[in-house]
Amino acid sequence: MTPLAGYLLVAALVFAIGLAGALTRRNAILVLIGIELMLNAANLNLVAFWRYGPHPELLTGMMFAVFSIAVAAAEAAVGLGLVIAIYRHARTTDLDEINRMKG
């Protein structure tokens, strides 16, 4: 097994774990955590491809990873802000409860 394959497998596993978390947890914050994990898995893929890809000197994958980290930060900030707002409104972060558009 080539190193790249190893990294890809790890990434896939982390992604799946994140997805599982996002799918199975009640708490919205936990869902966000799952999403963060998925994002990180993607980053790992990017960096791994950069490292073992044909043109590492072009830095493409690395740049993608860096940018996606930045975007992830934004995403986390907004998402958590939303969670807090929702909590303030519905007094819960349980996704099974929060299923109405109106309120």
């Binding site: 996002a22 799918l23 869902v31 996704l95 299923n99 558009m101």
Partner: protein, 690 residues
């Protein structure tokens, strides 16, 4: 004037040549900034405009100095900076700017007069709530005008030209609450458009003929011998060469802009705008743009000009100019609105410039342009201050005796008036007009223009005397209490007055500095030019002119101070003429019954066509479709709908099923998403393997 020593061409752009674009750019930027300002920020707005124009003035002076230096060291300075704006296939649309004596002189004039008028309007507009807007427009205008001046590409010139037209429209209609102002603005815009159409045609034709839009471009420009020869050779029908035809087309644009016959009608109405506008745009600079344009394309106009001869286009220019000069002067005699009088006098003076261009070449016309710019701006601003002093009264019959109330205005106004009348020796107007008359006298093909212009000069002296005596002599017939204007308004007047007198120095026959400067010849001082009989004769004639004109005017109006209601002296003398004149020789009415009536008629025809012919056809078709539709409806109701209803029921059921999925649970969606991903990926891999 001795033979010109050969001037070596000098085309390398110096730093100022390269930075020339700044001169128009600054006011335009200022305009943009001012446009962003809030209304209350008056001081900032005016200081922005004035500051930018001041810088432009300094730059313009630098450019002027540069040119003069080059000229003094025996160079025919023509610094051009050209660049390609865009490419269509192989042809490229070039823009650029040029710095040569012509543009340099014009730059200095525009920036200087403009600056003074800006300062003046600080006082004049002080009580207007749209102060900032006014200055925005003003500096936009200044920028556009300067753009016209420096542009080396006829396209760029046209752009700025149109921009100038726009600002003129905006400024004439500045008090758009007044219907008359709005109407005047529209009139000005449309009338000038007529000319601009021809101008545009000319541009296109020029481009087609020469393949370049640039005036000067190291020998390949359209104003340079190669292209000119080509255009001379090309025939345009009616026995005209392409050069002539194009020249005439472009001249039509100039006619529109500088209010020559027959497109002069907008200029007097343009006086609806604030007085500084009238002074800046409709006396000093914009209307001069037409003249400047002709001067700019003079090589084209004079293409194939033999010494002692003339060309068709120049002849046309001359005749139009001369005719306008007399025509407008005649009308001016019988006007009562102080600004209208000046407006018509402007028209006639523009006629002089045109004639000057046609007769004596660039230098003659331009010299009158410059001097006129100064003293006419002076007159207008004087008029403005008078109006200001008489509480917005514009009718000369309700003024009078103001020389006691506003001495400073009176003094400066008098200077302007004398300059306009061309009182010999001391006033710049004399020298410039004199030069025109001189060249008219020496015109080979006909003497008529000469006599026309002389007559015009007499009239000029006459109506100016009339106006001045109406306004400043006799008793005050207005309402309220006249008062002198603030310092910020009178100061520019004084400065302008000084120049109105002093500028003449540059153009005396003894020391024809201006002429030689524009003509790239040495200017050398020889007194004996004064002794030449021809010139003495001219001096005598202009003396006679002035004396006759002023004398008549004084005899009719001087110190009589008729009260407002009593009819005009001239009216009493010859009522029919008076009526004709006071109705502006019925030009507007003439247009009314010809052009506009025709349009109305045509519109009515079109309307009739619409109603009857097309309308009928449409109606028929409609009826036909109506029939079809009725059948269609029948078909729908009985067969189609049934099927649709069934289908809809099915859809409703299906929608109900799908709606279950839309549970509002985020995780459900996420799950479906993931599922879709799985399926998709599976398919992909499968296909890639199989």
């Amino acid at each position: 004037m001795q033979e010109a020593m050969q001037f070596t061409p000098y085309t390398v752009a110096s730093w100022i040549g390269r930075m020339l674009w700044l001169i128009p750019a600054l006011p335009i930027v200022a305009a943009g900034l001012i446009a962003l300002l809030k209304q209350p920020k008056r001081k900032l707005a005016s200081s922005l405009a004035i500051g930018s124009l001041l810088v432009s003035l300094l730059l313009a002076l630098a450019a002027f100095g540069d040119v003069v230096a080059g000229w003094a060291s025996g160079h025919a300075v023509r610094e051009t900076v050209n660049f390609s704006w865009m490419h269509f296939g192989t042809t490229s649309v070039d823009l650029g700017w040029v710095l040569d004596p012509l543009s340099a002189v014009m730059l200095v004039m525009v920036t200087f007069v403009g600056l003074l008028i800006f300062i003046y309007s600080v006082g004049y507009m002080a009580h207007d709530e749209n102060y900032t807007r006014f200055f925005c427009f003003l500096s936009l205008f200044a920028g556009a005008m300067l753009g016209v001046v420096i542009s080396n590409s006829i396209l760029l010139l046209f752009m700025c030209w149109e921009l100038v037209g726009l600002t003129s429209y905006l400024l004439i209609g500045f008090w758009y609450q007044k219907p008359s102002a709005a109407a005047a603005a529209k009139k000005a815009f449309l009338t000038t458009r007529v000319g601009d159409i021809f101008f545009l045609l000319g541009i296109v034709w020029l481009f087609a003929q020469t393949g370049t839009l640039l005036f000067y471009n190291q020998g390949t420009g359209s104003m340079e011998p190669g292209a000119l020869a080509g255009m001379l050779a090309a025939h345009a029908g009616l026995g005209l060469s392409a050069a002539t035809a194009i020249g005439l087309l472009i001249f039509a644009g100039a006619v529109g802009k500088s209010g020559q016959l027959p497109l002069h009608v907008w200029l007097p109405d343009a006086m609806e705008g604030p007085t500084p506008v009238s002074a800046l745009i409709h006396a000093a600079t914009m209307v001069a743009a037409g003249v400047y344009l002709v001067a700019r394309v003079y090589p084209l106009m004079s293409a194939g000009l033999q010494p002692g001869g003339t060309t068709t286009s120049l002849a046309v220019v001359t005749w139009v100019g001369a005719a306008t000069a007399v025509f407008a002067a005649l009308i001016a005699v019988a006007q009562n609105d102080i600004k209208r009088i000046l407006a018509y006098s402007t028209v006639s003076q523009l006629g002089y410039m045109m004639a000057g261009l046609g007769l004596g070449g660039v230098a003659v016309g331009m010299f009158h342009l410059i001097t006129h710019a100064f003293f006419k701006a002076l007159l207008f601003m004087g008029a403005g201050s008078v109006i200001h002093g008489c509480h917005e009264e514009q009718d000369v019959r309700h003024m009078g005796g103001l020389r006691k109330w506003m001495p400073l205005t009176f003094a400066t106004y008098a200077v302007g008036m004398l300059a306009l009348c061309g009182v010999p020796i001391f006033f710049s107007g004399f020298w410039s007009k004199d030069a025109i008359l001189e060249s008219a006298h020496g015109w080979p093909s006909s003497q008529v223009p000469y006599f026309l212009l002389v007559f015009g000069a007499v009239l000029t002296a006459f109506y100016m005397t009339r106006q001045v005596s109406y306004v400043f002599f006799g008793q005050y017939r207005g309402h309220g209490h006249a008062h002198e204007s603030p310092r910020v308004m009178t100061m520019p007047l004084a400065i302008l007055a000084f120049f109105a007198m002093a500028l003449g120095i540059l153009g005396t026959p003894a020391w024809p500095w201006f002429r030689s400067f524009l003509g790239n010849r040495q200017a050398n001082f020889e007194l004996h030019a004064f002794a030449e009989p021809a010139w003495l004769m001219l001096l005598a004639t202009s003396f006679i002119i002035v004396i006759v004109g002023i004398g008549l005017g004084w005899w009719l109006y001087g110190n009589k101070s008729p009260n407002a209601e009593e009819p005009d002296a001239l009216e009493k003398a010859m009522p029919s003429v008076w009526r004709a004149l006071s109705n502006r020789l019925y030009v507007d009415e003439f247009y009314g019954v010809t052009v506009i009536a025709f349009y109305y008629w045509w519109a009515r025809v079109a309307d009739w066509l619409d109603r009857r012919v097309w309308g009928g056809i449409v109606a028929a078709i409609t009826r036909l479709f109506g029939l079809l539709a009725r059948f269609d409806r029948f078909f729908d109701e009985n067969w189609v709908n049934g099927g649709f209803d069934k289908g809809c029921e099915e859809l409703a059921v299906g929608g109900g099923l799908l709606a279950r999925v839309q549970s509002g649970r985020v995780q459900t969606y996420l799950r479906l998403l993931a599922l879709a991903v799985v399926v998709l990926a599976a398919i992909l891999i499968w296909s890639s393997r199989g």
